[in-house]
Amino acid sequence: MDLVDVKEKWSNTINTVTIGATASEGGTRGKTVTVGGETTLPFLKFEGDIPHAPVIAGLVVDVVPEGWPEVLTSAIGDVIKSPAAWAKTLVDELNVDLICLKLLGPDPAGSNRSAGDAAKTVKEVLEAVDVPLIIWGCGDEEKDNEVLPECSQAAKGENCLLGSATESNYRTMGAIGKADKHKLIAEAPVDINIAKQVNILLHDSGFDLKDVVMCQVTAALGYGFDYVYTIFERVRIAGLKGDKHMALPQIANVGWEVWKVKEAIADEDVLPGWGKLRDRGPRWEATTATGYIQAGADIITLAHPDAIKIVRDTIAELTV
């Protein structure tokens, strides 16, 4: 008896987004990174095309976040004090595909650095590495509205991925993205309806959704991971079924979110029986990341060198 063919056939293709610009494209990057283009769900190559494997963005923060455990900071090493040197190490030693520069410094609740300082950091990182750049604001909307335009201009023509456009700031983000030729991250607070709404708003304001990567506020394993996982999955299925507002590549900001939860920062003295943080921390990060990759993430940010290695191996294994 013949086996029944259970292959799914989808009617739509996920948008393809290229980040970075080489000299011939008006930038200074040595290479570009392309994501998206899928015609089926993650890793189901027998069903459709998956032209681009998920990519890893090494996380660099302009000021060391409070609360990061020694397990993480020591693994990153002394370079943690210099975003440019940190980025260079991630590229040279860990071969990350992109750098995700988180601009925490300008946060008014923290260092409250100036927009000019942030722009300077962006330039330094661009000079230190030749991979494409993701630039992510601190999350304070008022300050980001000041900082991101300046950083966007400092990186003009480099075709960076700027984060993030939300329901309230999409006009500003759309305008700077267009003016300086960058791609945008559209972000929603773990809410698929708002995710779609942000995309519709961006599209209606004249920003091409072919230049957008979607992001859900990423949850670490154990902290709403399953909610975000199902949103990634539902977004991808809707996109493949033909919803043009959902047929976008997706990014999971894992490196930034995981190193806030107790399982990734508290050692055995606080969590007896949970095993050494030295192993558990990076594994918590890697497990969160591999989950999102299987849900449909195209770009993953990662912080710990060991997590980067584990996730890269997993992607390679699943992509064979």
Binding site: N193, K196, N199, R234
Partner: protein, 255 residues
């Protein structure tokens, strides 16, 4: 929701005159307006104005010079279809074939040749169906034959044959029931389409009847309609019905 814009049809005076004068402007205006209104396909119907394939080709090329929306070639003449598919820039929707073996033998190879989709009417030479069962039988035969030709269900649009409410009031329920059963034919299911304006033929409250009937048909599985896409109330009602059926993801600006 797949909307097939019905307006480029020589049944309308302005289009008839334009085709006779070979004046591209009215066709292109309707092409742009219907595309802007959200048409997935633009139906192009030469009607009784001419039997020459080149006139149909002129209409299609004229529309394609204005927009890149795919064409629904509205003709039951194989000679016209065979020529028309050659000028389509994108895979067209062939509108339409009945389920009679003779018709399918001629039409389905044309669909295969152009890689497009096809509307299958749930009727054959015996004429319009009276019951849901008859519609299901004919539509099932059409889908099975299309699949034998290698046309997958996602390229088949089954039409339960909409009848005028005013003159055949008992038919509406049969049509709705037939559509519901079409859904069960295959997984994934074929598309279910209707020529909507038939339902309100001769009535006073045309738009209201169209709108209500389409939302009820969507509830029973329809995902496509040949209709007046310029009727924004109709389009908004259909999009809302799709949300109610959980086929689209809600967003505040879904309209």
């Amino acid at each position: 929701m797949i909307f097939v814009g019905e307006r480029i049809n020589t049944g309308f005076k302005d289009i008839k005159q334009a085709v006779m004068d070979k004046d591209p402007k009215p066709l292109q205006r309707w092409a742009r307006d219907q595309t802007a209104a959200g048409a997935t396909y633009l139906d192009v119907n030469l009607g009784a104005v001419s039997t020459k394939p080149e006139d149909m080709c002129w209409m299609i090329e004229t529309v394609q010079a204005a927009v890149d929306t795919p064409i629904s070639i509205d003709s039951n003449k194989p000679a016209i279809l065979a020529e028309a598919i050659k000028v389509c820039n994108k895979p067209p929707l062939i509108n339409s074939s009945t389920a009679s073996q003779e018709k399918m033998d001629v039409f389905l190879p044309i669909v295969v040749e152009c890689g497009g989709s096809v509307i299958g009417l749930s009727m054959d030479d015996a004429g319009a169906p009276k019951s849901a069962d008859m519609r299901v039988e004919k539509a099932g035969m059409f889908l099975a034959t299309a699949m034998e030709h290698g046309i997958t269900p996602d390229r088949v649009f089954l039409d339960p044959i909409v009848m005028p409410l005013k003159f055949m009031q008992d038919q509406a329920k049969e049509i709705l029931e037939a559509a519901r059963q079409f859904l069960l034919f295959s997984d994934p299911a074929p598309h279910i389409i209707c020529g909507l304006s038939n339902v309100s033929n001769g009535t006073t409250h045309k738009k209201l009847i169209n709108r209500i009937f389409l939302t009820m048909l969507i509830n029973n599985g329809a995902d496509a309609a040949i209709c007046d896409v310029m009727d924004t109330d109709l389009v908004h009602a259909a999009l809302t019905a799709e949300l109610v059926m959980n086929r689209e993801i809600y967003a505040d600006s879904y309209i």
